[in-house]
C-alpha cells in the first residue's frame, strides 16, 4: 500500500519493529484462522472420517499403525498374565495398548480370537478427501422414499439456487432501506434543530438494546391483519426496524463529526437541506455507509429467526440459513453437509466485504474538506 513507503524510509530502526509487528499479527491471524481452517478441511473429508479422527490428521503426524499380527494359542487364559514374545502382560494392559522395549505397541486386534496387533510409530497423513459433501449441498440432499410396492426410490431435495436468490431478495433491500432511512434521521439529529430532538435520540439509543424477541409476537399479529405475513415486504420492514437503531446511531456518530464550516458554506450558497444531504453528506459518508452496510448485510444474510417467523419455511421463499438448518436434519448428524453448506453460505458475505474494502482508505474525508 502506498502509505508505508515514505514513512518507513525516513525513520531508521523501524525495519526491526516491523518484523515484530508482522510476527505478532501473523500469530494472531493464525489463531483466528485455525477454527475456520478446521471447518474448511472437514468439509472435504468423508462423512465417516469427520467424527472418527481430528481434521488435523490430514497434516503429516506420527501415529501407531499395525505392522504385523501375532496369534496366541486359542486356549490362553485371559485372567492369567499373558506371555507375548517372552514378556508377560495383563489383559488390562493389552486392551489399552502397551509399549514394548523396541518401541512398538501391542494391542488386542481380536480378543476372542486371541490375535494381537504389533503397531509401530510412523509418519502418517490422512488423505481421504471427497467433494461429495459439496455435491450433496449444491444439488440437494438425497431422500430415500419407500414406494408402496416395497422398493425404495432416491429423490433429490431442491438445490440451493432458489434459496440463494431468496436470500438476495431479502438481504439487499433489507440492507439499503434501513441505512437510507437511518442516514436521513442521523443527518437531522446531527445538524437540524427541532423540538424533542434530544428525547427522540435517547429513545433511539435505548431501543438499541431491546432484544428483538420482545417484538416478534406483536409484529406477527399486526402482519397477519395487514396481510404481510409470508411476503418479502414484511421481512424487509422487520429487518429495517431491527437494524435501524444501530444504523442511526452509527451514522450519527459519523455525520455529527463532519466539520461545521462544510454546512455553513453550503447554506451560504443557498443549498437546501435535501440538496446538502444528497449531494454532500451521502458522498462524504460513503466509507461509513460501506461499513454499516457490510454489518447489516451480514446480519440479514445470516439471520434465521426473523425470516423463519415472518416468511416461514416454504421452499419457494426459504432463505439460505433455513436451508442449512434443514440440512443439519432434526437429529443434527449431517455434519459433513453442514460443513460444506457453511462454506457456501460464507461466499457471498466475503465477496461483499472484499468488494467494499477499498472504501476504507485513508484520507477520504480529509481531501474533500480541503477542496
Amino acid at each position: 500500500m502506498r502509505k508505508s513507503k515514505g514513512r518507513d524510509g525516513r525513520r531508521r530502526g523501524r525495519k526491526g519493529s516491523k518484523t515484530v509487528v508482522n510476527l505478532v499479527l501473523g500469530i494472531i491471524c493464525l489463531l483466528w484462522l485455525i477454527p475456520t481452517l478446521g471447518l474448511f478441511v472437514s468439509s472435504f473429508r468423508p462423512a465417516t472420517e469427520i467424527l472418527k479422527t481430528g481434521w488435523w490428521t490430514v497434516l503429516p503426524h506420527r501415529e501407531y499403525v499395525a505392522k504385523e499380527q501375532l496369534q496366541l494359542s486359542k486356549d490362553t487364559d485371559l485372567r492369567q498374565p499373558i506371555e507375548v514374545n517372552g514378556t508377560t502382560y495383563t489383559d488390562e494392559q493389552l486392551r489399552e495398548g502397551v509399549k514394548t522395549e523396541d518401541g512398538t505397541e501391542l494391542i488386542w486386534e481380536n480378543r476372542r480370537a486371541r490375535t494381537i496387533d504389533v503397531r509401530e510409530l510412523g509418519w502418517r497423513m490422512s488423505t481421504e478427501f471427497t467433494l461429495d459433501n459439496y455435491a450433496g449441498v449444491l444439488t440437494g440432499k438425497e431422500y430415500d422414499i419407500p414406494k408402496p410396492d416395497g422398493t425404495v426410490s432416491k429423490e433429490k431435495g431442491s438445490n440451493l439456487n432458489q434459496a440463494f436468490l431468496n436470500t438476495l431478495t431479502v438481504a439487499i433491500p433489507s440492507t439499503i432501506i434501513p441505512i437510507l432511512i437511518a442516514t436521513f434521521a442521523a443527518y437531522a439529529f446531527a445538524w437540524m434543530k427541532f423540538p424533542l430532538r434530544k428525547t427522540l435520540f435517547v429513545i433511539v439509543i435505548m431501543l438499541l438494546v431491546v432484544p428483538l424477541q420482545v417484538a416478534l409476537i406483536p409484529i406477527l399479529k399486526d402482519y397477519t391483519s395487514l396481510g404481510l405475513n409470508g411476503t418479502f415486504l414484511g421481512v424487509w420492514i422487520a429487518h429495517a426496524g431491527f437494524g435501524l437503531p444501530l444504523a442511526t446511531y452509527f451514522m450519527y456518530s459519523y455525520i455529527s463529526q463532519l466539520p461545521k464550516d462544510l454546512f455553513e458554506s453550503a447554506f451560504m450558497d443557498g443549498a437546501s437541506n435535501f440538496t446538502i444531504f444528497t449531494k454532500l453528506i451521502l458522498p462524504l459518508a460513503v466509507p461509513s455507509i460501506a461499513s454499516i452496510s457490510i454489518f447489516q448485510f451480514l446480519w440479514v444474510w445470516n439471520d434465521y429467526l426473523v425470516s423463519l417467523v415472518f416468511i416461514g419455511s416454504q421452499p419457494d421463499v426459504q432463505v439460505l440459513s433455513m436451508r442449512i438448518a434443514n440440512l443439519v436434519g432434526s437429529r443434527g448428524n449431517d455434519w459433513h453437509l453442514l460443513t460444506a453448506s457453511a462454506f457456501v453460505s460464507m461466499l457471498m458475505p466475503l465477496a461483499v466485504f472484499f468488494g467494499l474494502q477499498r472504501y476504507f482508505v485513508r484520507g477520504l474525508l480529509g481531501g474533500s474538506v480541503k477542496g
Binding site: 509487528v21 439509543i205 438499541l208 399486526d222 426496524g241 457453511a342 482508505v361
Partner: protein
C-alpha cells in the same frame, strides 16, 4: 417519479406559488405515494412472476421506492414558506425512521414494561414483585450474572483486540490479508460457528480426540475435559471466546477506518519530536479516535447484552450458561411466564442506562446537543 415533478414545476410557474396549489400538492403527493406503494405491494403479493424477475422488481422497488418517497415528500415541503419549511423538514427526515421504530420496537417495548409489572399470565398488576424475583430466583440471577461475565470479558476483549489488530495491521506488510482473516468469522452464521467450535470443544473419553482443544490437552498428558459443561461458571468463558472470535472483526474494521483518518502530518510531527510509537498511540491516536472508540464500545456492549444465538447453539442454556436473552426466550415461549420474561428484558434496558448516559455526555462535550 420524474414525470410527476415536471408537471408540478409547470403548475408552480402558472399559479405563481398560490397557496391552493401547495395545499393540493401536500395532499396529492402523500396520497399518490400511498396509492403507488400499495399498488406495487398488491401486485407483488398476488402476481406469479419468474423468480429472478420477481427478485429484481422487488429489489428495485425496495430501493428506488424509499428514495422516491423522501424526494417527493421533500419536494412538497420545499414549496412551503421558509418558516414552515424549517419547522417541518426535520420531521420529514426523522419521521420515517421514527415511525418504523415506534411500530416495530417502541410499542412492543412499552408493552413489555407493562407486562413486567403484571403476573405470569398478564392478568393483574403485581407491582415490583417480578423485579424482586429477578434478584432472588436462582435461574434469573444466573442469567444476570452470566450477562455480566459476557460484558466484562467478551466486550472488553473484543475492543482491546480489535484496536490492537487494527493498529498492527496498519503497520504490517500484509494489511488486507490480516484484516480479511480476522473479519472472516463475521461472515459466518451462528449455526455454522456453532459447528466450527464444536470441532474445537468436542469431548469424548479416551485418548483419541476429535476436538482440537482436547487433542492438545491429551498430547500434553492431561485429561480431556467437557469444556462447555465442566467447572461452572468458567464454562461461560469458553462460550465467550466464540463471541470474541466472531465480533473482534467488527471492532477491527471500524477502528481501522478511523485510524486511516488520523492525519499523517500529526504522526510525522510527533515522530520528529522523538516520541515513541507507544506514546504516540496513547497521546495522539487514542484521543483522535476517542469518538469511534466510544461508539464501538457502545455497539459491542449492546450486542453482548443481547447475546442469544451463541448460547442457544452451543449449550442451549444448560450447565448454568443461560443469559438474559435465552432466559427471556425460555420464560416467554416455554414457561409462559410473561412477567418474568418481560422483567428480564427490561433489566437489559436498565443495564444500558450508564452506557447511554456516557454517550450523551460525550455528545454534549462535542457540542452536538448544545
Amino acid at each position: 417519479m420524474p414525470e410527476l415533478k415536471t408537471t408540478a414545476n409547470g403548475t408552480k410557474g402558472a399559479a405563481g406559488g398560490a397557496r391552493g396549489a401547495v395545499a393540493l400538492w401536500s395532499v396529492l403527493i402523500p396520497a399518490l405515494n400511498a396509492a403507488g406503494h400499495t399498488g406495487i405491494f398488491l401486485f407483488l403479493r398476488d402476481t406469479e412472476l419468474n423468480p429472478v424477475l420477481y427478485a429484481i422488481v422487488a429489489i428495485l422497488w425496495g430501493v428506488v421506492g424509499v428514495y422516491a418517497l423522501y424526494a417527493s415528500l421533500n419536494w412538497v415541503v420545499e414549496q412551503y414558506s421558509e418558516t414552515w419549511k424549517r419547522r417541518i423538514q426535520p420531521y420529514l427526515f426523522v419521521g420515517p425512521a421514527f415511525a418504523l421504530l415506534t411500530w416495530l420496537l417502541l410499542i412492543p417495548t412499552i408493552r413489555t414494561v407493562i407486562m413486567s409489572l403484571q403476573d405470569a399470565t398478564s392478568s393483574k398488576f403485581v407491582g415490583l414483585a417480578n423485579y424482586a424475583a429477578v434478584f432472588t430466583n436462582r435461574l434469573l440471577l444466573t442469567a444476570l450474572r452470566n450477562n455480566l461475565l459476557w460484558v466484562l470479558f467478551g466486550a472488553s476483549a473484543c475492543i482491546v483486540l480489535g484496536l490492537l489488530i487494527a493498529v498492527l495491521a496498519d503497520r504490517s506488510s500484509f494489511e488486507r490479508l490480516a484484516k480479511a482473516i480476522v473479519f472472516m468469522p463475521m461472515a459466518i452464521s451462528f449455526v455454522a460457528a456453532g459447528v466450527i467450535w464444536k470441532f474445537i470443544y468436542y469431548y469424548q473419553p479416551g485418548d483419541e480426540q476429535v476436538g482440537l482443544l482436547n487433542a492438545i490437552v491429551v498430547s500434553l498428558g492431561g485429561e480431556p475435559q467437557a469444556w462447555t459443561s465442566m467447572t461452572q461458571p468458567w464454562n461461560n468463558l469458553f462460550l465467550i471466546v466464540i463471541l470474541i472470535w466472531m465480533q473482534t472483526g467488527f471492532a477491527m474494521v471500524i477502528f481501522s477506518a478511523a485510524l486511516k483518518a488520523v492525519p499523517e502530518d500529526m504522526l510525522e510531527a510527533a515522530r520528529v519530536d522523538g516520541a515513541g510509537e507507544i506514546r504516540i498511540f496513547f497521546k495522539i491516536i487514542v484521543p483522535f479516535i476517542s469518538a469511534t472508540i466510544l461508539s464501538v464500545t457502545t455497539t459491542i456492549i449492546v450486542f453482548t447484552l443481547k447475546i442469544f444465538d451463541v448460547v442457544m447453539v452451543m449449550t442451549g442454556g444448560q450447565y448454568d450458561t443461560e443469559v438474559v436473552a435465552t432466559q427471556f426466550y425460555r420464560q416467554f415461549f416455554m414457561y409462559r411466564n410473561f412477567g418474568y420474561g418481560s422483567t428480564l428484558a427490561i433489566a437489559l434496558l436498565i443495564a444500558v442506562i450508564p452506557v447511554i448516559w456516557f454517550n450523551l455526555r460525550q455528545l454534549r462535550k462535542q457540542g452536538g446537543f448544545a
